[in-house]
Each structure stands twice: as C-alpha cells, then as structure tokens.
Symmetry: C2
Subunit: 455 residues, 2 copies
C-alpha cells in the first residue's frame, strides 16, 4: 500500500517536527520554506531570536516521534536549572527545572536529511487550492527565479508562523473565524557577548551562569537573557511602547539602561546597546486566534503559531506547537491511520487547550505588569508553592499552575485551568480564614485589654 | 488658502457620501474603485444586492452634507410604511415607518458628477504607504492595462467594504487589532419578477405591496423582499448552512420552498427558484471588528463596512456607515477644520457606538433564531411597545430599543444600549410583580378553597 503524500509549508521548529513525525509514520513528505537554508547563513543572525525554553510538553512531543532523535536534539541544548532573578539591587535565585532550546532548528533540519523528506527552500507560497470539495489540495509557490510551481498532495499542513500565508490563503476558501490582538508592549533584541579572555581549561566563556534563564523584572519593563552555544546570550528587552517612544536618542537609551539594569548594562556593553538602539527593529507582540484549524474537506490544517500565536510570557508558544503535532499523530492512531478523520477530530480535541494557554499567556502579561508588587498576591503564590510541595494529595492532587503548564505535559492545558480554579477556591478559603483568624485574635486582644482596663 | 487633498478608496454608498461630504467642505477629492462604473452596467445585476433600508441616521447624514441633495436622493427611493409579516398560514401587518434605499448608488455618482470630485474606476489598490511618520500618504493602484500608478494625498480614507484591501494594506504598517467572526447562516439572492400584464393606467407593476419590507419568518430560516424601481423585488433567503447543504438538487429546493414559503413560491416562480439554486452563490455572513480606525500619523482612516462589517439583522450597516461620515465631519468642525485632529479624535468618539450596533446586530440574530417563539419574550416586547406609546416620560423617556436605533438618530448607539438596560430593569420588575401577583392570587384562591372545604 502506498502512503499518502503530505506538503508542509514553513520549515520552522514546528514545521520540521511535523515533517519528521509524518515521515516516521511512512508518509511521503515535502517541506517548503520561504527563506534559504539557515545552515548556509554564515553569521546566523536569523537564528538568534529563536532561543526558546523547551519544557515537558515539547520534550514529550519530540519523544513521541522518536526517542533517540529527542535525545540527539536535546544533547545540543543547554540545560537550565532554573530562573535567576536580578532585582534592582543585586541578584537572587529561585530554582526551577527547565530546559533551554537553542539553535535546534539546525539539528532538526539535519535529522530531516536522514529521512526521505524532500526540503525546498526559497519557495514562496502564493496559493492553497482545493481545501473544500473532493479534489486533492494543490500548493502553488513562486521560486527564486520567478517561476510558478504547483505541487499536489493528499494533505497539506501550514506551519508558517504568526503571519501565516498558508492561513491567509485558506481563509479565501473557507469560513475561518480569526482575530489578532496587539498588546501594548514592544521587544528589542540585545546580545551579551562571550567572555573575551576566558582561560581555555576553565571553559568559562559565559559571563553569567548559562544554566539559568536570567530575568531582570522591573515594574513596567523587563529584560531576559538565554545562553547560546557560542558563549553569548540572547537578551530581550520588553517595555510598553510609550517607554521606548519617549527615548529619542542612543544616549538617552544608554542612560535609561544604566539606571534600570546596571549589571546588564555592563554585561551588554555600551557599544552593543548603542548598536541595538540604532539598528534593531522594535518588535510588536500579538495574540492570534483562529477557528477552525482544518479545512472543510479535512485535507488542510494549520499547526503552531499559524494557528495560535501567543504572547511569550508563559514560555509555551513552541511547546504548544510541538504538542499540536503530538495530538494530531495521536488522533491519527486513534483513527487507525485515517488522516482525514484525524484532521476532522483535531478541532474539538485541541481548541479548548489552545484557547486556555493563549489566555494564560495573556493573563500572565497582565499579572506581571500589575500584580507583581501586590503583597497579597506574592503571599498567595508562596502558599500555593508550599501546598504543592507538602500538602499534595491531602485534599486533591495539588500542583501549582506554573508547574502544571511547564512540567506536567500529561495534564491538558484546559484541565490545568480547571484544576487551578479548584485550587484558587482553597486559597481563597485559606485567605479568608487567616484574615478572619487575625481579626478574631484582634477582637479577643481588644476585649482582654478592655476587660483589664475596666477591672 | 488651498485646501488639503483627500483620496477615497471604494466608490460604494459610504465612499460616495465621503467624497461628497469632503468636497462640500472644499477639499480636493479623488475617488477610486476597483470595478467599472455601475451606470455603464447594462443588466445592472451588480446593483441588485444593495437594496438597503435607509433610516433616520442615514437620512441625517445625507442632510448634513446637503439638504437639497438628500431630497434629490430620497425622491428616487421607494418609501416604506412598515414591515409586512408573512406567517406560515397567511399574512398580517405590523406598521412601522421605513425608507427603502434602492439603486441609489447611481444617484450618488450622478451627484458627484456635479462636483469637482475626480472619480477613477477600474483602479485596483495595491499599497497604502506612509501611514506612520511625517511623509504624506501614497496610494498605489494597478490600472486596467496593468500599469502601476501612484497618487499622493494629505489624507486617505478607505471605504472599500468588509473585505477591504485598504484595511489590509494599513495593517502592514500599524498595530491594528482585528477580528472576523462568521455566523452559521448563508444567504441566497432570489428575484420576484414584475407583473407581466399590468394595466398601463393602474401602474400596478408590483406583485405585492412595494411600500413594505416583506418578511417571511420561520423558526430556523427567513425570507425577505424589498421592491426595486422596475417593479421587481430583490428577495433574500437566509438559512443555517446545514439546511442548504442538506438540499442536494433543484427539485429538492423547490419542494422545500413550496412547503416553507407557499406564497413566495408562487411569486418567485419555479423557474426563478431553479435558476437561483443552480446559479446564485451562497453568501456567508460575518462580523468584522477593528481598532483603531485611524493610522498612527492620523492621515489614513477607514469608514463603513471596512471598519465594521456587521450582520444584516438590524438593518443598520449602511446607516452606521453614513453616520461614520457624519461624525467625522462633525469632529472636523469641532477641530476648526484640522482634519488630523478630527482623525485623532474619531476613535474615542466612535468606537463605543460601533461596538454597540455590531453587538446589537449579532444579538438580534440570536434573538431571531432562538427567542422568537418564547411567549414571555413576545409579551415583554408588547409591554415595551405600549410603554413607549403610552408611558413615555412617566419614569423616564421610554423609547423601545428598535425605535431608538432606527428612528432616533439623535440617540447614540451606545446611549441606546444604556437606556435599554434601564428599561429592561423596569420590564423585569413588571414581570416579577406580575408573576408575584399571579402567585399571590393563586395562594389566596387556594387558601380560600381550603377554608371553604374545611368549614
């Protein structure tokens, strides 16, 4: 029996995993990308911005395709022991197990070379046809020399990111609900260079601990840094648009940075900051939501950021995209290898979870920008953490929200939200009982004092 | 002093009114459209589908541009005395003052001929540049012979409808929140032909009363008909997608129609129904929401359906678009002729009202599809109507919602929603007090009966 053919558009992390997953299941896969092969990019600047943390869901999805492959991919990754919080005065740590995903796109492309997946770079998608009706879908591309080429497939999958051309083409042929919502925050990429004169035997090429996600939280803005394999760190500066728009020169930017992030100022260096201010674009952050994900004939589908671009504040964008692939292949198994049936089931199987994590990511942005200085909030977070550590399974399995999302890929995003609701109720009771206790104690003390005074 | 130049893209109803309004204020206006001049269209099929009811808001907006012009436009319009409801068995009437807007686009284009507005047909927009920063905006079009032409303006306005290319181009240069949401309903255009052998002196070319909006409401679907100047009626059949998808031949469609709309079946005729089933496209209905409407440099803006495509169930789409023009010119006056300042103020002046009417239109769809058979709902509607008629100004000015929206252009959409909330509270009280009274009466009767029985 000949297996069906699949065309995948977008050779990013999710697209590569999609191609690997369906190739492993025996499908004939072709993978297309607009850009040139990133492995041919000399200075590899284009890879810098995809430093992402892979957590439990992402790892499970990699392992589902091939456990040996997952091992090979993850050996190139810089393991992270936790987050390091740099507050205004100095530094303190807060440990959490993490994995860091570096320039792994190259590893995934190398993995593809070992399969019979055909990869086509510099192919710009211009049409997705036959997504309704019985005819097989056709993808049209413009190649570098300006020629139009058609490919027909049994199934086509769009994994071409937040500004997906595949999705835009699908919208022409079906009724797809769509929304994009910007948040009032820009980001700018900075770079912490490797240590110049590291002793060869110490291996200390990194100027700060590479095995932590570094965070410089401030009330209105934030800086983060993630290690690269070459000893440098990719750092990202987040701020409201008005903050960056009110800065009108590189000198003002330097002054702002020195005041807000004194240690990072020294790590990045004046030259690097000046370069970033003058040359780096200011990125915008938006949430994209779509429904449904599959075409009327269940022969086309979108996965990853093309289907659910989320703001980066829960670190789940890529993990959710990997999980998309995992869920789709699981549905394929449940459907005894009938991919049309898997596409048909995907929407109801996945929508609630995608909506849940998109909302969480957005809520986390509001939480970070408003609640982080609220002492009640911080106290509740602490109680939540200790209940997870010491009181798990007393009332019901207690896992703090962040842990459910990041370390417990066995718990669906939507289930995590439902469990969090129960846990919140308990936290509310604890808060009320505690406040009530304090109030009762206060009244008793006052009564006692009154009693003494009256005697 | 030379006035600024304005480029308007989209020569539909709202685009024409925009061009007329700014030309009347002395601006140098150019108006562009993708299509050919509709006045050159012999069979004028393209004009059929724009039969729309103009109500108070639309009329006010026309009058604000030029009272004489409004008079000229409205004299071509078929006046409507109300709605005629065709229920399953026969017919009954429910009177309401209405105006019907027919092929008025031609009248508006004729009005433009009398001004110095330059109109360019067959110009396809391909780019909107300089919507941020200080440079003046540039519009790029492809003309029929495949040439690219650039036009620069002080201001540009997009009025090119729900699938606006102008909006799509703006989105490339700014952070615009955007959503499109489909409802599960299709529409199909049908035509009721004129009476063939009308007596010349009677003038009775119309097979049903032309001065009413005809409605055939059914539980899940609906038919409407509006008169055209030539004696025909444009009729629209609305149904859930599954209804039309479950019909697989013209014969089945005829059988369905004969059963559901016996009188309309005869009016349209078998041939017309068969033609429509075989050749008319099934339209989809969606809601488009956008924010903000103006560009960062306040030199580009979108009005009408480009900014707020709504479902047609409140008959306010065009009226709201006309009101957009009215509000913008009012803001221009408030800003002493500074159009940049008017663009800047438009978003906060208009967003709440646009959101309100879009939501009302959608709510009305749900209301029509679910509540219309609920006796409590119908009773409340009746009480609401009589309170408006007899109890106005007893508690506070009482105007039923439908009247505020359709006949009271002096009440903002958002204000209408706020007033409706107060009125709903009173209706709730009336309902509870009535039910309470009935319950109390019941208890009293039961007690009395018990008393008698016990004696």
């Amino acid at each position: 029996m000949t297996k069906d053919s699949i065309g995948v558009v977008g050779a990013g992390l999710v697209g590569c995993l999609t191609a690997l997953a369906f190739s492993a299941k025996g499908y004939k896969v072709k993978l297309f990308d607009l850009r040139k092969d990133p492995r041919l990019d000399q200075d590899q600047k284009s890879l810098r911005s995809i430093n992402l943390a892979v957590s439990d869901r992402g790892i499970r999805a990699l392992e589902a395709v091939d456990a040996k492959m997952a091992e090979r991919i993850l050996q190139h990754v810089i393991p992270m022991k936790g987050r390091m919080i740099h507050d205004a005065s100095g530094t303190k740590q807060e440990l959490q197990i993490y994995g860091l995903f570096g320039e792994s796109i190259k590893c995934l492309l190398d993995e593809l070379d070992a399969t019979d997946v055909e990869v086509f770079f510099k192919h710009k998608l211009t049409a997705v046809q036959n997504i309704a009706g019985e005819a097989k879908p056709v993808l049209t591309f413009i190649t570098q020399n300006g020629e139009n080429t058609d490919f027909d497939f049994d199934f086509v999958i769009g994994t071409d990111g937040a500004h997906s051309q595949f999705r835009y083409q699908m919208q022409k042929g079906m009724r797809m609900d769509f929304s994009q919502k910007y948040i009032d925050m820009q980001y700018m990429e900075l770079s912490i260079p490797p240590v110049k004169e590291a002793k060869p035997d110490s291996g200390a090429r990194f100027s700060i601990d590479p095995n932590h996600l570094h965070i410089w939280p401030r009330k209105d803005y934030m800086l983060i840094a993630l290690a690269n394999g070459d000893g440098s760190f990719t750092s990202t500066f987040f701020s409201p648009w008005k903050t960056i728009d009110s800065i009108s020169s590189a000198d003002e930017f330097l002054a702002f940075f020195r005041k807000s992030f004194p240690d990072a100022y020294n790590l990045i260096g004046e030259e690097g900051l000046k370069y970033a201010y003058d040359h780096q674009p200011r990125g915008s952050l938006m949430q994209v939501s779509v429904s449904p994900y599959a075409s009327p004939n269940n022969r086309a589908i979108i996965l990853g950021d093309a289907a659910h671009s989320m703001v980066p504040f829960y670190g789940q964008g890529m993990n959710c995209g990997f999980e998309d692939v995992h869920v789709l292949t699981q549905l394929l198994e449940e459907s005894d290898g009938d991919l049309r049936s898997a596409f048909a089931k995907y929407n109801s199987a996945r929508k609630a979870d995608i909506d849940a994590i998109c909302k969480l990511a957005l809520d986390n942005y509001y939480e970070m920008s408003t609640k982080v200085t609220d002492p009640f909030y911080l106290l509740r977070k602490k109680v939540d953490y200790y209940l997870g550590k010491y009181a798990n399974d007393v009332l019901f399995p207690w896992v703090p929200m962040y842990s459910m999302i990041s370390f417990r890929g066995d718990i669906r995003y939507s289930e995590a939200v439902a469990r969090e609701k129960r846990q919140t109720k308990v936290l509310n009771w604890i808060q009320y009982v505690t406040l009530g206790g304090i109030a009762a104690y206060g009244v008793a003390r006052a009564a006692h004092a009154f009693d003494k005074w009256n005697r």
